[in-house]
Symmetry: C2
Subunit: 583 residues, 2 copies
């Protein structure tokens, strides 16, 4: 491979062992003397190019005889001007002489990204620049989404990258409140950049030794926070909370009816699952996918705050048994999607123990509160669960995707899912193959979701996550206090929110005096969508809305972004009033 | 937000619309005059810091009255020396004055990554630096994987990043042949860096407008390559081929027995699935997970090349029907995991039509060959499939994860999976909500896997993928030709490989004269693991091995990395001989 860079002298001098940084000043010096150094390196590069030594240098540890620079085994990048209009993907590594264009191309990308990052945190930037699908498909100012047979120049690729960001949504913006996942954590981002550069797969220790161990240690810490003795148990990172919840149903079934794995659902009686009417739809999806049927996912009634009423659970268990069905599984939600409600886990656990049912806690949204000494009591009883879903990509600000399924009983994940594929999980490897995780998963290839989270935990400590969570909950309480008695605002339920969810209607002036009637409800139902549409058109902020049960469309405000301040909450209130007052 | 950078004058001047680059020379100029510019910006930053205007600048389009630099709305990054030993995650954005440390920290990360990338393509670098789990857990040279309550400094975080790469496996190295996914595509990598910076979610157009459209257009192109008329149909990117295959089984069931969605598997007769004994284990995993049971996944016999024997399929269908079971689904593998075999799709499709069965083609590994005019005939008949799995992250070199499930019938994915969650998929949004994809998926949040692939397709064109595929297959044929008659090598099956898989035993000198016997087989079974262990210890190369059926451990060589040359193939042969000769 040709190069224009100084080189390490051999593979045994791994560059990663080099000092973290050159002596202070070296870098500036390199810049000042860029021209002469470059000339030297060109000569050096020419010599290397014309020598196929590295092609012949077969054995690890063998030194390259040719080395231009022994002292600088890890060089700091240098930025140069390159004309990308005549360069193509084929000119980058592994192409001969591809090293310099590769580095310069990546630095251009980094330039685009760092500018985007700066703007994301800048409140004078819009949250989004909204366009309808047909507008984007027609091509905005030359942004052509169509793919073609022939390659585009790297200059065009850079333009495409800018355009992609330009027409996207800044989910890290301090005024983006639209989803449970928001924010742009810089450490997490660095972790993702590294993860994609390492480009490996979690299924075996063999090709992901460090990541596999990080996953193991991190899952253990999470289990300790749940409260399982010694952090014992099992778990995996999965591609999102819905899949984590699906795992929980699968392993519950395997625990009580292991023959279903080989014989199918016909080997079991009619099994029923229980979950809150406020719970995430993934429990129903799992019921449909795994062959239970959505009719056998029984929805539990909730109190006015959206929390499961334990007596209703018990009544429905008894009812199911009387019908000859077999209750199998109860999902308790720790932080419901809309209300942010925490089901009373201890009372539900009592019932699960009484009737010998699997208890799963869906803490996809609320699991993060386990890291806060102030708020973890809301999950009291979680240590009695058989399995827990917990998505660090929601409340803890980890970049998407990062979701864990945690299981109290060791070995059951593998028992449920293993197929012992010989080509991956050879028993005769030279290392302890119990570290291979692939056969526990329903996936084969599995993306490395752990590193960004591990790195954030290292960088913030548990206390950093705690501070983040406490701050977000404080902000929600601030919002609640500001609007609970404010003219034009009406809370969907009373009392301080349990999580960061604040649910409210905005009542435009025209509806304020109006008596309760179907007409008023119909009109109110249309208010939130109208305000939301105007918000998106103006690009100033984004917040979600939805109906729930018999309640017409209302706003659901959530805070999970550390960039949010009280001023952003004030801004949201003002914006809703500005846009909605005269509807 | 405080800043030390020049600013755009307002949100309506989106920085992304700025020219791609400043006039030639500007950048160098900025460097030369860094000191005076910096001073100016410090003053400017001070003024901005002490003015909360952006906090009050509420409406989009409103200009910032204070602006330090009107001409340079998108600034190029500048690298400065920062002492990270006293900085922590909390000092980065969104912290006050966090912008400069943020950019400098990310540039340090980029420095680590670009050095890693350069070394990855450098054959004098080891593929891996192997350590056993207990060694890494004990802490290598201070690399501590344990998490703690208190934060680490950013300097330590940078060291951790270096160590993570140091002890990992270079899957992009030209001598890494261990998995179907290998290589480090620079465009794909840039795409991943951008994706993680955008940090959004595919479930709605609302928060991923550009990515949703890219997915739609790319899936259409893929369906065109499959040969479905007009590229019509449906599809999704899913977290890997196993999940894509699971989708295919789910939608087949929904097509023939839609009542299973609500009533469960008890509403259907005993359904059976058919797949090759050489097929990927994910079909069996899907059978277990979805409630069919692995006993109802019937394995089909193959010829000596690992291709399904159509007559065996028909015989087993008839047998199942005679037993009163209901054949539902046939999986034809296009590129099997170990042999790289392509099942005869047309003959299988004939049988599926005759018996009215769902035909799925698992092209996770072989789907990429559809882009090659020379090799696409191997998937002849794929246009008759009802669904196709195709993983661009394998043969096409797209970074992990990137897998598509493609479906011929429009609407069936949504029919199968929709639960109509009101909080996400509001029908009263201001845009055409048919663009919201979330309710088609079994996931809720869905990672953006499309962008890197779309960007690679833009940058290479269809012809670029074609060249890549043709080159990899040529290299495999080169290997096959080199070893088919070479002393010490024995092919597992005869004939030119259909895909890049080349399967062979290496026979150490001590076994060469030995007559066929159980003893010889036992000894031969231990050869590949021993050579592999030595390879990993020396770090020079990696290649997979496994047993298959009654065949003892053999090597499976695959090529999907564009960095591989004939010299690397020669190297592998030589390395196996060097390590194995005297076993």
């Amino acid at each position: 491979m040709a190069t224009s860079e100084p080189r390490a002298t051999g593979a045994d001098q791994d560059p990663n062992t080099a000092n973290l940084r050159p002596p202070s000043g070296t870098y500036e010096y390199a810049w000042m003397h860029g021209c002469t150094r470059k000339l030297g390196m060109k000569i050096c590069g020419f010599l290397q190019k014309n020598n196929s030594l590295e092609e012949r240098g077969r054995l690890a540890g063998q030194k390259n005889l040719l080395s231009c620079d022994n002292s600088d085994s890890e060089s700091r990048f240098r930025r140069t001007e390159i004309d990308f209009s005549n360069l193509f993907a084929r000119d980058l590594l592994p192409a001969k002489n591809g090293e310099d264009p590769t580095i310069q191309f990546l630095l251009e990308i980094v330039d685009i990204l760092t500018n985007y990052i700066k703007k994301t945190f800048d409140r004078s930037t819009k949250v989004l620049d909204f366009h309808h699908p047909h507008q984007l498909l027609e091509g905005m100012e030359g942004f052509n989404l169509e793919l073609s047979d022939q390659p585009e120049s790297l200059e065009q690729i850079l333009v495409d990258c800018r355009d992609t960001l330009k027409y996207g949504v800044r989910t890290g913006h301090p005024r983006f409140f639209n989803q449970l996942s928001s924010g742009l954590d810089i450490i997490g981002l660095a972790g993702e950049w590294l993860t994609s550069t390492a480009n490996t797969n979690m299924f075996t220790y063999e090709i992901a030794p460090v990541f596999v161990l990080m996953e193991q240690l991190t899952l253990k810490k999470m289990r300790e926070l749940i409260g399982w003795p010694g952090g014992e148990g099992d778990g995996l990172f999965s591609p999102g909370g819905a899949i984590s919840n699906m795992y929980s149903v699968m392993i519950a079934r395997y625990k009580y009816f292991p023959e279903v794995k080989t014989k199918g659902m016909s080997a079991a009686p009619r099994l029923v699952l229980f979950t809150s009417e406020h719970s995430h739809y993934s429990i129903k999806k799992a019921g449909a996918a795994l062959g239970f049927g959505t009719d056998n996912v029984i929805l539990l009634s909730t109190d006015e705050r959206g929390r499961v009423i334990p007596a209703d659970l018990e009544a429905k268990i008894i009812d199911a048994k009387q019908k000859g069905y077999v209750p199998l599984f109860v999902n308790a939600t720790a932080g419901s999607t809309v209300y942010g409600a925490f089901d009373p886990i201890n009372e539900i656990a009592d019932i699960c123990e009484k009737y010998n049912l699997w208890l799963h806690v869906d803490g996809a949204w609320g699991g993060g509160l386990l890291m806060s000494r102030k708020h973890r009591h809301k999950l009291s009883g979680v240590e009695r669960a058989n399995s827990v879903t917990w998505n660090p990509h929601k409340m803890m600000g980890v970049p998407l995707q990062c979701s864990a399924i945690l299981v109290r009983e060791k070995g059951i994940l593998a028992g449920c899912n293993s197929m012992c594929a010989g080509y991956l999980f050879q028993p005769d490897k030279q290392y302890d193959v119990t570290y291979d995780t692939g056969d526990k998963a329903i996936q084969c290839g599995r993306h490395v979701d752990i590193f960004k989270f591990w790195l954030m935990w290292k960088a913030k400590g548990t206390v950093g996550f705690e501070q983040h969570i406490d701050k977000c909950l404080d902000l929600s309480q601030y919002l609640y206090n500001k609007i609970k008695n404010r003219e034009g605002f009406q809370m969907v339920f009373n009392g301080v929110p349990q999580h960061t969810n604040v649910c409210f209607w905005y009542i435009p002036r025209s509806l304020r005096g109006m008596p309760d009637s179907d007409e008023r409800l119909e009109k109110l139902h249309r208010v939130a969508p109208k305000i939301k549409a105007m918000m998106m058109e103006s690009g100033t902020t984004m917040v979600g809305y939805q109906p729930q049960g018999n309640k017409v469309n209302f706003f659901r405000m959530v805070v999970s972004n550390p960039a949010v301040t009280q001023s952003d909450i004030d801004f949201l209130i003002g914006e809703i009033e500005r846009l909605g007052n005269d509807l």
